[in-house]
Amino acid sequence: MLHWFSLLADWVLIRVGVDKSEPLGEALHFFIEDTSKIFVLLMIMIYLIALARASLRIERVRDYLAGQHRLLGYGLGSMFGAVTPFCSCSSIPLFLGFTSAGIPVGATMAFLLTSPLINEVAIVLLGGLLGWKFATVYILIGMGVGILGGLFLDSIGAERMLQPLVQQLSGQGASPASATGQRRLTLADRHRFAAAELEEILRRVWKWVFIGVGLGAALHGFVPEGWIEQNLGAGQWWTVPTAVLVGIPLYSNATGVIPVMESLILNGLPVGTTLAFCMSTVAASFPEFILLKQVMQWRLLAILFVMLLVSFTLAGWLLNAFAGWVI
């Protein structure tokens, strides 16, 4: 079905009279095919997912997680992190809200770690640009980092390393917050919500799609083999932790960074190294750490930092070893 977009690009090139085998033609073809494909997929996916999650409010996620067995909590926390739309500026109120409802720090962190890594826009971009196999591997790694990270944090007793204020709040019981009385949503309500989400998300991401794919197209058409290929292409072991160390202080959201991933991979950077770099720019950032300082002591922040460094590095190595299978 996706080859329609290639045919569309063929047709446009014939109409404007550019030869597909020229570098310019090749770049244009790539650009038209990829942007049209991504926008169509985005519109369908955002709308359908929003339709399904219209009734999913963070308060309900909290109440649901609060009643779960500890071990199940990590998986569910990570899963909800992936499907719940959530702005990083809310991470502190969310952390406090979850903690006071008695949810273990690990499950809360599973939510917070997975949330920036996985969302519908990221999945569409990955699937459309790098293939659905790669998208699946990305989701598995993203959720794996969230789940194992949460498990690890609880096993070292992370709750003792929270700020005193948070420890007092812990398990105090959820404050009775039914902001919007949960009435049953009609189909019309769901449609209105989904249409609003679609508009809001597209408004936010459209330029990133153009910039990212444009970059990829330029590389595709004009750069045969870059220096990346020669210097880093062999996937030397140290390139992965270096990529993560460079990535952590940089900050980007998944939408901005995935088209860049595509250009890096096309230009010869090994998949594992690329993934490690991109996940670390998305999952961790200095602004985020500064926010978390309000609820965590330095010791825990340092542990979190090292934990992310280690887990993205391991994921990168693993993926470099199995690169042939993934792409």
Binding site: E59, C89, S90, L94, A174, A177, T180
Partner: protein, 77 residues
């Protein structure tokens, strides 16, 4: 009428304050719109996704920039 907008300084919170004040002026409603950025207060009100809106002590909204018709309903209520 006293309206509080809860949120620790994200762009959406600013927009919420702006649009509530603007609509109140348009409708000629006498409302004071204050921003609350103190975490303890936000948590005490049970808000987990910001911006949240409190009208005369009751939490009426959280998690997004409220729609115009919603704002009008609060202001006229």
């Amino acid at each position: 009428m006293e309206i509080k907008v809860l949120g620790s300084g994200c762009a959406k919170c600013e927009k919420t304050v702006e649009s509530i004040s603007r609509i109140a002026r348009e409708l000629g409603v006498d409302a004071s719109v204050v921003k609350v950025t103190d975490l303890q207060q936000i948590v005490a009100l049970g808000v987990m996704s910001t911006p949240g809106v409190v009208v005369d002590g009751t939490l009426v909204h959280s998690g997004s920039i409220p729609h115009r018709d919603e704002i009008e309903r609060w202001l006229s209520g």
